[in-house]
């Protein structure tokens, strides 16, 4: 019997050491060109679960669940868990899960609106944070 995803996450947290990813995902929303670039930061417990395997559901269940109305049962909590991922595969999984498909799948423009970069390339000085944009 497959247990609920939340129970698997709680179990994984109790037995896995957290993993701080060496990657960040920079992205811009083409629907809001005046907004600064966003930076996705992977959660260390999520990364540990992804690298260990047998915790997280297939990514396509999350994508299908985006069209399920609120309050209706979702597919991802009880989906068969996937196996271990590499760190790079886990980042791709997060892009598809936590960033709008309008950015990673549907955008057809010429401007580069998403980049996966080492954390060292993210500025630590936030004086002009609300003016950040992706260098072309």
């Amino acid at each position: 019997m497959i247990t609920h995803l939340w129970d698997r996450l709680a179990d994984a947290k109790s037995r896995l050491d957290p993993v701080q990813s060496k990657y960040r995902v920079l992205f811009e929303n083409p629907a809001e060109p005046k907004e600064p670039a966003s930076v996705l930061v992977p959660d260390p417990n999520f990364m540990a679960a992804a690298l260990a395997g047998d915790v997280l559901p297939p990514i396509d269940t999350y994508i299908r669940d985006q069209s399920v109305p609120d309050g209706q049962p979702k597919e991802h909590p009880y989906a068969e868990p996937v196996g271990a991922m590499t760190e790079e595969e886990a980042i791709e999984y997060l892009v598809m899960k936590d960033i709008s498909p309008s950015i990673w799948r549907d955008y057809k423009g010429n401007r580069s609106i998403m980049k996966i970069v080492p954390v060292e390339l993210i500025p630590t000085n936030r004086s002009f944070r609300n003016a950040w944009e992706i260098a072309q």
Partner: protein
């Protein structure tokens, strides 16, 4: 991983229905900093944070909530420091754009967003 199916939990004196424990426990929590490169310290049921700008962070859940009417608790230093001498939490801040898969948190100094050295979030409600 085994499963206990019980209606009540007791310590021999007091008895409560398991629903109290299930419905009354946090479904997600996170400790993070918005200073420098925003970073998660520790968490449960969180897949990522997204740094949206000064004082603005979106928290994405690994296991979705059932609806966007969940409740939450929010603590912000509302200053870049992390110690009691840095308290700026008389300032404003809170949640915005709640959704089944994420919630946005804003640290605010009353007139503009401010990066907070410590931001703690607890989410209560029903899981999907």
């Amino acid at each position: 991983m085994g499963t206990l199916n019980v209606l009540n939990i007791t310590n021999g004196t007091d008895t409560v229905a398991t629903g109290y424990a299930i419905n009354g426990s946090a479904k997600a929590w996170v400790n993070l900093t918005q200073v420098s490169t925003q970073t998660i310290g520790d968490s449960l049921n969180v897949s990522s944070l997204t740094d949206l700008g000064t004082g603005q962070t979106r928290i994405s859940f690994s296991s979705n909530m059932s609806n966007d009417d969940f409740a939450g608790s929010f603590y912000t230093m509302a200053s870049a420091g992390e110690n009691s001498s840095n308290f700026g939490n008389h300032y404003a801040g809170g949640f915005g754009d709640k959704a089944v898969a994420s919630v946005q948190a804003y640290s605010h100094n009353g007139s503009a967003g401010v990066d907070s050295g410590v931001l703690d979030i607890i989410i209560m409600g029903e899981l999907s």
